[in-house]
């Protein structure tokens, strides 16, 4: 059990990760039985108590805002990199501060400070309070701590994983990459982890705390064959601890990076124009993120600028299609025990049996629509105000099999690996970039293809999903979603699906 009175650990923020391996402690931060203890740890980490929090909230509401919240954050990030066979750089990042938000109707006042002295926090609260021009609103008399489930149980905090252990992991992945194929001429291996401690206190008298671990490991390589070169990569990311990196996964990482890279030598440019596209189970979930996810974030709908603004409770897809955005998938990258407004992580059906069921809400939009909060209020850090954001967005299994889906296509493409996507929410135009895939001819997968952008209209493409297989998979890699200058970790998933027609940006 962790020694909770370790003041040095709490007050001094200088350390990020252990220098050499020490035995891991069992972690009991967020179990219900230790709730009170957990709160103490967080209060101590930020040097806060209920009285100070009340004082800041009082200042924030001094000009009559409807609501105020404080978002305390202490985030420790590490990364370590291997290049040209040498583990040649490491970096650490410490971020500490509090963001203070005041709402007046749907207006937001926001300010933050990195200096957790009472004086500085009061100053920030005054700035945020400026959004409102009325009389005082009373702060809460007492606070209640939210009981939260834990969707990312971990045993060993990243700060207790020695740097020597990470160095060894990088070196063994690198050696494996070069041993797998003689065409490999360069390899890079990168490992990063975060530990994010947050405490949210609201003017409704609720306090929530969370410990959010995250890691990512990636291997990329360049191979040479004759006068051609290709680069590709593979990565894992999860809200998990070092136990995630089993021998099987550590063997799969270099294998998959090499396989994906050398496969590109066989690949041809994709054909161009409107074609049937099969999206293979897994990271093809990027389709949902771009084609429907962003358009279902309630901020754009609240102000009427999303293409989905008039579609609630209307049929948008075939009966066998259900799409969920959830914060509750165990140890998945986009999972959250609590959102950044203090609302518990939960599962939200966006589309149920083809019908649009719910937008994703933050506090402002939920109030506007008079609906329950969905736990989608997320932010990049204490320097940012929350907005409706996705968590893990995925489609549930459908009635077909992968083989049936492929067999149904006379001429089209299969998309397998993706790098990025984008959407313009108003008109619904969206794109995603296919790093690798294959041609489908007469119901059979034939030549591999690569480097092609796919572009379409969100609601139209959703209507054109005519087959859904029963092989749902979540993406394994580390996806990050950017919106209005804020990045948050997300994940996505999908079973293999057939889109009857969409524009493929290949060569003529």
């Amino acid at each position: 059990m962790r020694n909770i009175s370790r003041r040095e650990f709490v007050k001094i923020t200088g350390s990020t990760f252990a220098l050499a391996s020490v035995p891991g402690f069992m972690r009991g931060f967020l179990t219900n039985s230790e709730k009170e203890t957990a709160n103490m740890i967080y209060f101590e980490r930020f040097g806060m108590d209920e009285e100070i929090i009340r004082k800041i909230l009082m200042e924030a509401l001094d000009r009559g805002g409807d609501y105020a919240d404080l978002f305390f954050q202490h985030k420790l990030s590490n990364s370590i990199r291997l290049e040209d066979n040498i583990v040649n750089s490491a970096s650490t990042n410490i971020m500490l501060g509090v963001g203070i938000r005041v709402l007046n109707g749907n207006q937001t006042g926001y300010s933050y400070t990195e200096d957790l002295s009472l004086e500085s926090m009061i100053g920030a609260a005054r700035t945020a309070a400026n959004i409102s021009r009325g009389g005082k609103t009373a702060p809460p008399q007492e606070f209640r701590t939210r009981e939260l489930p834990n969707y990312y149980t971990t045993e060993i905090p990243w700060e207790e994983v020695g740097i020597d252990r990470r160095v060894n992991i990088l070196k063994s992945v690198n050696e494996e990459v070069f041993s797998l194929d003689s065409r490999i001429i360069k390899a890079n291996v990168y490992f990063s982890d975060d530990e994010n401690y947050i405490l949210i206190a609201t003017s409704e008298g609720k306090i929530s705390t969370d410990y959010q671990p995250m890691f990512r490991i990636s291997a990329s390589c360049t191979a040479e064959q004759g006068d051609r070169r290709e680069t590709n990569w593979f990565n894992y990311s999860a809200r998990d601890d070092i136990h995630f990196l089993t021998p099987e996964r550590l063997a799969h990482l270099p294998r998959e990076a090499v396989r994906r890279t050398v496969a590109l030598f066989e690949a041809k440019p994709s054909p161009a124009g409107e074609l049937p596209v099969v999206l293979k189970a897994g990271s093809s979930g990027i389709l949902l993120h771009e084609a429907i996810g962003h358009g279902m974030e309630a901020d754009f709908n609240r102000i009427g600028t999303s293409i989905y603004a008039e579609k609630l409770n209307k049929k948008v897809a075939a009966d066998f299609i259900s799409i969920v955005d959830s914060g509750t998938n165990p140890n998945v990258r986009g999972s959250i025990n609590v959102d950044d407004e203090g609302i518990p992580g939960q599962e939200t059906y966006l589309v149920e049996k083809g019908v649009l069921r719910s937008y994703m809400h933050d506090r402002i939009s939920a109030k506007h629509y008079g609906v329950k909060l969905t736990g989608n209020g997320r932010r990049q850090s204490f320097k940012h105000f929350p907005m409706p954001r996705m968590r893990n967005t995925y489609m549930l299994n459908g009635p077909h099999t992968f083989e049936e889906v492929i067999a149904s296509v006379k001429y089209g493409i299969l998309a397998d690996q993706f790098t990025n996507g984008q959407v313009n929410i108003g008109p619904g135009d969206f794109t995603f970039y296919v790093k690798s895939g294959a041609l489908i001819e007469n119901g059979k997968i034939t030549a591999p293809i690569k480097d092609v952008n796919i572009i379409g209209n969100g609601p139209e493409v959703l209507e054109r999903v005519i087959m859904v297989a029963n092989d749902m998979e979540m993406a394994k890699g580390g996806w990050t979603c950017g919106k209005n200058g804020q990045s948050v970790p997300v994940s996505m998933g999908i079973p293999s699906v057939l889109v009857s027609s969409v524009t493929v940006g290949g060569r003529m």
Partner: protein, 447 residues
């Protein structure tokens, strides 16, 4: 009063940097590079007749790079309390010991620090101190009002005003000391309209300058933002075709910045550049000349020195289609056994042609005008790209069909060689000051 405050804070930062340098040395670091940054910004979003969001930010940070026994690491913190910083530096040195030696990781040759531009680049606008919150709200409100009711199809207008002020101090233990101060002012708006079916075509224009007086007038921004949204109404795709592509000046950076990755020391050394071995060879049409110029007064990419501390100087990048320089930083320069140029682009200036975008457009029988890129990517190893676009079909010199849901695909080698005309109309409120560009034979996919 404000000036006094400024000088004090500058002094404090320098003192802190020297303290950190000394403490790192005491802990066993051979060398260090320290950066202390301070930034303050205020942003106002105005929507629906009122302030929608008002945000004030103020941040301080310290970054230290440790060079110790041929080993290297970098560390960043925003907790600048002395007690935390001591522990932070101890941790930094400790971590470095566990890494492996890399003979190329060392501070730059101090000779590279010499010869910083002597001119005043005017990166900071003193007007910054004269703005209060009400002034800022008024700027956003005024822009909002200039668009309101100008089109019956308007659903939403969001006008933004944002400014920021940064100061940074850099110190390297082999004799580099530098400081920077700058400001930026941003004004712009996004407009959403009701379109066909459920579509909400939108358009926006945002401008950023270092001095507030250089911002375009609010009525000009209002007109342009609204016009962008109006142009988006009724967009559709047309048949796939290989036709000339005209890229408007303000949009062209969205295409050309992808080329810069292939010119970087990292890409070259890691064998991820299709431009490897192409120095002093023809990689583009003779019409393309690009110069990296870090010393343009008030330029958005202007600077006195780069990330390595290399004194800023003008560098020819492409001269009449011939690749003259890569972007080589100190580390990859050593690995490649090449002289460092600079690790990153500053302002990119083009040799201009004779006509502006409208004049070029009028002469085209059938072409596609690109006014925006959406998504897509480029492969720096092979030079292949595939990008989503919006724009116009041009027929007999007229804009006939507004376009979306189309892609362009190709290879940068072919594309750059097919550059047939460069405009005389550079967009100067960008660090990449692109004029209108006309390319022949570009593959568009649509229907």
């Amino acid at each position: 009063m404000e000036i006094m405050k400024k000088n004090n804070s500058e002094l404090e930062k320098l003192e802190l940097a020297y303290w950190a340098q000394k403490y790192a040395k005491q802990l066993g670091a051979d060398d260090s590079a320290i950066a202390i940054n301070k930034r303050r910004s205020i942003s106002v979003k105005y929507r629906d007749g009122k302030v929608d969001k008002l945000k004030e930010s103020s941040q301080n940070s310290l970054r230290v790079e440790i060079y110790s026994g041929g080993k290297y690491s970098s560390h960043f913190t925003n907790d600048l309390r002395k007690s935390s910083l001591e522990k932070f530096l101890e941790n930094a040195i400790g971590i470095t010991r566990y890494l492996e030696e890399d003979p190329y990781k060392a501070l730059p040759d101090p000779a590279l620090y010499r010869g910083r531009p002597k001119i005043d680049l005017q990166l900071f606008d003193n007007y910054y101190y004269g703005l209060d919150i009400e002034d800022r709200i008024e700027k956003a409100r005024q822009l909002y009002e200039l668009i309101r009711d100008r089109d019956p199809r308007i659903i939403s207008i969001t006008a933004d005003f944002r400014d920021s002020h940064y100061e940074s101090t850099h110190l390297k233990s082999n004799g580099f000391e530098g400081k920077n101060e700058g400001s930026s002012f941003n004004l712009g708006a996004e407009v959403s309209l009701r379109g066909r079916e459920d579509r909400k075509p939108n358009g926006w224009r945002y401008y950023r300058t270092r001095h507030i007086e250089d911002l375009p007038a609010a009525n000009v921004i209002a007109k342009k933002a609204l016009k962008r949204a109006q142009d988006a109404v009724g967009r559709r795709k047309v048949e796939s075709a290989t036709v000339p592509m005209i890229v408007e000046n303000i949009t062209a950076p969205g295409l050309l910045w992808r080329l810069f990755r292939a010119m970087s020391g990292y890409a070259l050394q890691q064998k991820q550049s299709y431009l490897e071995g192409q120095l002093n060879t023809q990689i583009a049409s003779k019409r393309l000349t690009m110069i990296d110029n870090p010393t343009i007064v008030r330029g958005l990419g202007s600077r006195y020195y780069d990330g390595d501390g290399i004194a800023a100087k003008s560098i020819p990048v492409i001269e009449e289609g011939v690749l003259k320089n890569y972007y080589i930083d100190v580390y990859y320069g050593r690995k490649l056994k090449m002289n460092p140029t600079t690790g990153g682009a500053s302002n990119i200036v083009f040799k201009l042609g004779k006509r502006n975008g409208m004049e070029i457009e009028k002469d085209l029988d059938r072409a596609i005008l690109v006014t925006g890129f959406i998504g897509g990517n480029a492969n720096s190893t092979t030079g292949d790209f595939s990008l989503g676009i919006v724009g116009w079909l041009i027929e007999n010199g007229e804009r006939t069909v507004p376009l979306n849901e189309m892609n362009i695909s190709g290879n940068f080698t072919d594309l750059l060689n097919n550059l047939v005309e460069v405009g005389n109309d550079p967009f100067e409120l960008s660090s990449m000051r692109t004029p209108t560009l006309l390319f022949d034979g570009v593959e568009f996919s649509g229907l």
